[in-house]
Symmetry: D3
Subunit: 156 residues, 6 copies
């Protein structure tokens, strides 16, 4: 049940050796909220705003963190990342960061998607924090996953 805990109540890596290789996908989302002071810079198109470098830096940071997931989460297995697509939109005063990733592997890629979204969100924070520290990562959650024992789609 707690698959990462052994019979002596010590943490361990789950053995995935006998699992089948399947195509696995996951999609995670982080939402960043910031005061108007910050948000006004992201309203318009790329030319007149700072959206370009801020969001591109976040996308790259998220992608690189996603590839480091098994180094960051102690009992995550290394898996061969085959795709990663992070997109960032500003909707209704929120910065919505979606991270989608896939692999052919023996274990799911949801921690990778969550790491990618989280680090992209933290990078947005870093790039904007000279304007305000009242920025908040409002939620980080899994939207969907497939390819493992049970598919998952977040319900409303």
């Amino acid at each position: 049940m707690f698959t990462h805990v052994d019979e002596n109540n010590q943490p361990k890596m789950v053995d995935v050796g006998e699992k089948k290789v399947t195509r696995r996908l996951a999609k995670a989302r982080s939402v960043v909220v910031a005061p108007d002071l910050v948000m006004q810079h992201f309203k318009d198109g790329e030319i007149s705003t700072k959206k370009g470098p801020v969001f591109q830096t976040a996308i790259i940071a998220g992608t690189m963190a996603l590839k480091k997931t098994s180094e960051l989460i102690p009992f995550c297995h290394p898996i061969p990342i085959e795709s990663c697509h992070i997109s960032i939109q500003v909707i209704g005063g929120q910065i919505i960061i979606d991270c989608e990733a896939s692999t052919h592997g023996k274990t799911g890629i949801e921690m990778e998607a969550l790491c990618g979204a989280s680090l992209a969100a933290l990078t947005v924070y870093d790039m904007c924090k000279a304007l305000s520290h009242e920025i908040r990562i409002e939620s980080t959650e899994l939207l969907e996953k497939s390819g493992g024992k049970r598919d998952y789609v977040k319900t409303q």
Copy 2:
């Protein structure tokens, strides 16, 4: 203003060379919410529950990620981490992760505290996800910082 963007709208690292070395502290918090199915395992003392290995793994993952912050956030400066204390409490059905860190440096340590809290939260997710994927990191935010130009304390 967007200190990480240069005159050609390209991202860059801020020059902190002429700033003074001061003692800097930061405290960040991530809150994890999970279904009862997960939370019931964390209710009681350490003996009868899985709290021990799950939370200790999260504390260690958060501490190690905190030390990697300048490797994860593209334009963060490396700073000499002098302390890091992560504590995790279960209060009212929420898992509250507090990360406090300090340095003597030329730039603040708030991104480090936020990274530490975030990765501890993601590790809690990872350790519990075999039970449910309806876990959510509900917020990650800075509680306070000091030692820089302006102190910051989160208002209610």
Copy 3:
């Protein structure tokens, strides 16, 4: 014979491209000895001692180092780690650290098991060194391996 040295006496990585993928296991052990001053803290059950956080930290450090083996040993190949289980026991005044790991790969996983055991041992040292520096990692060796050309079991 020295498979890591080329015809010009220069080091190189062995080419494993034509080798078959097989299930490979390895088990390594590090033994830590420490003065009574240290050992008395590890005598009893988890509640009254510091064994819990010290050994869990060592297990996690060893697991994370095991995943970094190909980054630490210059000519090691990266392999997809499928399981890692580190257990620590106190027997007769010694701290016995066993690290077992497996993969499906083209090359063995013994360096990984040895790295995992070694770094767990070094972490025990780090956690106890405020009490004494007379701690010694008394041996690190391979107990067994299988799945390659020749199985190996340590003889007495």
Copy 4:
């Protein structure tokens, strides 16, 4: 065409999930030129010169960097490196660094070979820079690749 750029002109990782696993090879070369002051130390055999430790250090640095390519190049996929052979020769006053690598993977290994050659060249620079800073990495380029859609051989 710019496969790393999405429909919103944002960078992304290419999806290689549906590509076939093939044996892929690549060979890259970096050429270092240095003043006579430096080059005279590399003229003769290993005994009387500093060639040994300088070139071996460069070979090891290049090999380790090659294994880190997907960590260094933001949108590179991690691939299972199966061989890497770096050789360094002094020809006509130039230090010629050849890096050859192979994998069975879904994407090519040319960025790895280029990274390996580049970091070996930078390491030669580092080991010699106390003698002169007029060292130059004169070119880094791909000599050949195979195993993908199109083989490539550098023409004269």
Copy 5:
């Protein structure tokens, strides 16, 4: 003379313990040349071209690699990076990558600047290689350094 080689002809790290902390700067340049097929995409302003994501990705990759220099070059000392500014221009059919960095440290920052420029160049290669593999990093060299025993400015 070969400061990285000891009396037994073995490589070693130079001892900088007794050196003074000074402000140190370095500027390095990598030049990338590519066929017209590639270069035509970088001719104009940011809106109609792919210059935006390609160059920003290269700037970020270079900055992150610069912070990893002491991890990549075996005998480099870790130094506290205080600034890094990478700029990329297209001049006369060449992509000119300039990397400038500074620190207050006991040893120079030229290897960092060279690493930053090199990895930015390799990233440009990676982002364009679907168009052509006839891309070449034509030179990587130090333009200037200051703050150490001897200042250096590249002569024509």
Copy 6:
């Protein structure tokens, strides 16, 4: 007393913020023993043996691991490594690896020296394991440290 364990029996990093910066040194030793089959290759001078590439690779691996210590040991502080010298001798059928390192820092450098020696030893193992797996790292211990509260010299 267990300085890495907090009042809730959870692991934490020690706060070194108020400690003084002093010059700190440490010397650690790992001893590797191997069957004659392996040792005969290390008997003579560099020309006729494989000692050159094996020991140089081990020295480099140890040096690079030493710089990564704070990344490998969960509660180690990052410190600015100022020197590292690893030397390897064959004495009486044993391979003796000595690692000496120094810093000006707020905390000791003994874990770094122990990591450097350990990873050099593991690398010797890796380079020789095609000949035999009966290799053992017989001991890893601290020989001396200075610069902190108490100097330490290993007694016989």
